[in-house]
């Protein structure tokens, strides 16, 4: 039998492979009793003895290193094939949306850090943009560019964490260390910018918590210059690696129609060939004026999701380069003391600023009656904030549309028919953050 090198490599470890040596989805059928079972003999294994028997219940999580948080999956297995997957979530539910109804708008920003904690600056920006639409505030040009900078930096952080943890799940340890080294550089920059690393609370309604420090741009330029080399290095190590390809290609396939119907967004949807990127389709922060490409996959499997995220790392670096070039001088915050606190020196020296300061701290800014839904392209997908105001200083309803919640809801459709070991790879490819899913 003539075999290619790859077929020999992966067929040692996995059964049920197609002609290219890729793991194959086992067809599921419904038997006379109405139960879903795997076909007794998967294609290519007709000669094997029939070892099918009782179905087995496997519980993964909620405390399991490969579930990326407190996700629990109850799996029904026929041999090693998943015939049913029942996800359980909610272990990290803290009632963010309820708490938001008791907080002023600027007080909600620290809560946005804690939902998708790998993308805190991006969440801060998204919330501030939503609140500004509700208030009817036009932010300054410098603020816009700084926010784009924050969004793309946090996209790089999030994708690097995804890359590192997924590599560990699939069995590669080295890229994890390389990814986390780069992530550390961004965290150092964020720390110099706002004083916090993980929970940044970077924005305020109408501006930013702080302007960038003096040595920020040189540091960011150095990062932008060196980072693509690291991406290329990771690319060389795993993109054509036989084990990586064998464990990711053909898994968890979603067709474009399915992806849209299941509401998949972000790299999940784009890997399936749905060219939907909120930055391009419903632009915010002048994203339409930046020159960047949206990578789109063709097969919609785990491997394509990996490729899409790798390319997004490069595209984010491109956007960061452009933000450095175009960063204008000028004020960061809007000149409107109904929403922005006056400088502390003036609040203690002149009466008007002191009144503004008092009114803002004690009462908080009040938006007009109305509602706004603002979606941004978070690293996980379409992240939306829906806020409803009744004219008071606290929202009536603050709704988070979490992208990984909707993406995760498609996991039964993705894993059923695959092997148990592939569930880990498929789950990793969704890029879930339980803080965002449970809120």
């Amino acid at each position: 039998m003539a075999t290619t090198k790859r077929t020999v490599e992966v067929s040692l470890s996995t059964t049920g492979l197609d002609a290219q040596g890729r793991p194959q989805r086992v067809p599921l059928v419904v038997d006379e009793a109405g139960n879903t079972v795997a076909l007794e003999a998967p294609p290519g294994m007709e000669d094997e003895p029939d070892l099918s028997g009782d179905h087995m219940l496997i519980n993964i999580g909620p405390q399991h290193p490969a579930t990326h948080g407190v996700l629990r999956l109850v799996l029904e297995l026929d041999g090693e094939t998943v015939v049913r997957c029942i996800p359980h979530i909610g272990y990290l539910h803290c009632g963010f949306e309820k708490i938001g109804e008791y907080r002023q708008y600027n007080q909600i920003i620290p809560w946005t850090d804690r939902e998708d904690y790998l993308n805190s600056p991006g969440n801060n920006v998204a919330f501030a943009l939503g609140a500004e639409r509700l208030f009817g505030i036009e932010i300054t040009e410098r603020c816009k560019v700084l926010r784009v900078m924050a969004c793309e930096m946090s996209r790089i952080i999030s994708h690097l964490v995804w890359l590192g943890t997924t590599c560990i799940d699939i069995g590669a340890f080295t890229p994890f260390l390389w990814a986390f080294q780069q992530r550390e550089k961004i965290y150092e920059m964020l720390e110099a910018w706002i004083g916090a690393r993980l929970t940044t609370s970077l924005t305020r309604v109408g501006g930013m918590g702080a302007d960038i420090p003096d040595d920020f741009i040189p540091k960011l330029s150095a990062f932008v210059n060196t980072f693509p080399k690291v991406v290329d290095e990771i690319d060389r190590v795993i993109t054509r690696n036989g084990i990586w390809v064998g464990r990711t290609v053909g898994l968890g396939v979603m067709s474009p129609d399915e992806a849209i119907n299941y509401g998949l967004s972000g790299p999940m949807g784009r890997a399936s060939g749905v060219a939907f990127d909120v930055r391009k389709d419903f632009p915010y922060l002048d994203y339409e004026t930046y020159d960047f490409d949206v990578p789109v996959g063709t097969n919609g499997d785990v491997y394509d999701r990996f490729l899409v995220r790798m390319e997004e790392l490069r595209q984010s670096t491109r956007i960061l380069e452009q933000t450095i070039k175009r960063l204008p001088d000028g004020p960061v915050n809007v000149d409107d003391h109904r929403v922005i606190l006056p400088p502390k020196s003036r609040a203690t020296s002149d009466m008007e600023s002191m009144i503004h300061h008092f009114k803002q701290v004690m009462e908080g800014p009040r938006p007009p009656i109305g509602e706004a839904y603002l979606a941004v392209e978070s690293p996980k997908g379409e992240k939306g904030y829906y806020m409803v105001s009744d004219g008071s200083s606290k929202p009536v309803r603050w709704r988070i549309r979490p992208p990984s919640f909707v993406n995760l809801s498609a996991i039964p459709a993705m894993v059923e028919g695959h092997l148990l070991s592939d569930v880990i790879a498929i789950n990793a490819s969704i890029d879930i953050v339980m803080g965002e899913i449970d809120r």
């Binding site: 219940l57 029904e76 309820k98 849209i260 998949l264 389709d281 509602e371 939306g384 829906y386 009536v396």
Partner: protein, 237 residues
């Protein structure tokens, strides 16, 4: 692999560069109220006479309040009609106002990816009327968890949903619906009572009977566990 099954059409209208179809992200040219209605509203009015109770534009986003009995038909048509093609469901949620006389709103955020349009559909549930709306799960599979969460948090029943169970709270949760305005921020039960209930829960409370029936695990359970599962008694109290 799946390239032969693709029927996803690329963007038909609207461009990323200065398009008026894209939702405005900054309020420079956007009035608080008023402005151009999404053209879809007129199409709905033409197709479903009397189904649109109200349509207005707030901060450039079109909100359509639809008759509760016909909202499923409207969404089905918006999804299927090639001139609308609202093929992407962003969100399903609900809003209850602090003024408890105001009706509860169930909100659907829909996107048309081919036409780059965004629309918000609402159904008003007057106080005292049954809290149920039709499920759109048969149109958008992505509505599954969104509707379950909305049921979990607000107690709104989505008729036609195949598996309407609590999602974020556990199945034995007894305190009601957390995002309702009559639900106190700290919860109804004291911390000690919540802790007592959590400690009193039996191991089988973590699994549904359906899950335990996998691999006949149900038959292997001790008799008292099976009795409790059969009678639906799950907390061991």
């Amino acid at each position: 692999m799946s390239s032969d099954s693709t029927s996803f059409s690329p963007v038909i209208a609207g461009s990323a560069l200065g398009s008026n179809a894209a939702a405005p992200a900054t309020p420079k040219n956007v009035a608080h109220r008023g402005g151009a209605l999404n053209p879809t509203v007129d199409a709905i009015r033409a197709q479903f006479a009397g189904a649109v109770l109200r349509a207005d534009v707030v901060w450039g986003e079109t909100t359509v309040v639809v008759d509760r009995a016909r909202v499923h038909d409207v969404i089905r048509w918006l999804h299927d009609d090639p001139s609308q093609a609202y093929n992407y469901l962003s969100d399903v949620t609900a809003v209850e106002f602090r003024d408890l006389e105001q009706p509860i709103e169930v909100v659907w955020h829909l996107r048309s990816l081919p036409y780059r349009r965004f629309i918000r559909l609402k159904v008003l549930i007057e106080k005292g009327t049954p809290m149920d709306v039709p499920s759109v799960w048969d149109i958008y599979k992505g509505a599954d968890w969104l509707e379950r969460e909305c049921y979990d948090m607000f107690g709104i029943t989505f008729r036609g949903h195949p598996d309407l169970r609590r999602l974020l709270m556990w199945e034995q949760y007894k305190e009601g619906y957390p995002l309702r305005k009559d639900f106190p921020l700290r919860g109804r039960f004291s911390r000690s009572e919540q802790l007592r209930q959590a400690l009193a829960a039996n191991p089988e409370a973590r699994y549904s009977k359906e899950e335990l029936s996998i691999a006949d695990a149900f038959e292997d359970l001790p008799a008292d566990m099976r009795r409790r599962l059969d009678t639906g008694e799950r907390t061991g109290e």
